[in-house]
């Protein structure tokens, strides 16, 4: 099964703090995604990328930056964290052929902004 690794698993920061969430996939997938999950809202797309150097805006991008440094690595940056960004963050990846379009998720990062 495809592997997506997120770090850290848990993070606590203060309002105004700087946070970077990391995601690595070793599946040779082109697409990588960052979602946040909140009670009552389900999974919402923050940013995604279809290759190194590419970035696409998702549905809830405000307050977030992202960078895809290589095909394997996708980072989510919160430069001035706010309590509203307390959430469970998931990274996911998928390929572009019918044989590998299934989306696979990392284990998630629980972020608390105090």
């Amino acid at each position: 099964e495809a592997a997506v690794t997120q770090s850290p698993r848990n993070k606590v920061t203060v309002t105004g703090g700087n946070v970077t969430l990391s995601c690595r996939q070793t599946n040779s997938h082109n697409y990588m995604y960052w979602y946040r999950q909140d009670t009552g809202h389900g999974l919402r797309l923050i940013h995604y990328s279809y290759g190194a150097g590419n970035l696409q805006i998702g549905d809830v991008p405000d307050g977030y930056k992202a960078t895809r440094t290589t095909q394997e690595d996708f980072f989510l940056l919160l430069e001035l964290a706010s309590p509203s960004q307390t959430s469970l963050y998931f990274c996911a990846s998928r390929g572009t052929n019918l044989s590998n379009e299934r989306l696979f998720f990392g284990h998630g990062t629980k972020l608390s902004v105090l």
Partner: protein
């Protein structure tokens, strides 16, 4: 409005019973995926579907792109089937949009 709508929002099952979950799309979905978020929070990909049906053990899923809906059937429910089931589809083929989930509780 909701582009991917799931029903019911919650379901209580006894072990050994059968049930069905539904996903309706207001977007032009050409594929659908179903996921289970288990009680530990992990999101597991259950199915990737083009129009048609697929079966995996006690789970069976169908996708009708013309009528814009998909179903997930659970047969002979077991305790380990508990969790939240999500369907998702990619409008325009790039990023999946998720429904808000069906929370399934299986009891002995």
């Amino acid at each position: 409005g909701d582009k991917v709508k799931q029903s019911p929002s919650a379901l209580s099952l006894q072990e050994g019973t059968n049930s069905a979950l539904r996903c309706n799309f207001s977007i032009a979905a050409t594929t659908v995926q179903w996921f289970l978020q288990n009680p530990r929070g992990s999101l597991i990909n259950l199915f990737y579907l083009v129009p048609g049906t697929k079966e995996n053990g006690r789970l069976k899923s169908a996708f009708d792109s013309k009528e814009s809906y998909s179903t997930l059937h659970i047969r002979d429910a077991q305790l380990e089937d508990s969790g939240t089931y999500f369907c998702a589809a990619p409008p325009g083929g790039r990023a999946l949009i998720f429904g808000t989930g069906t929370t399934v509780s299986v009891s002995p």
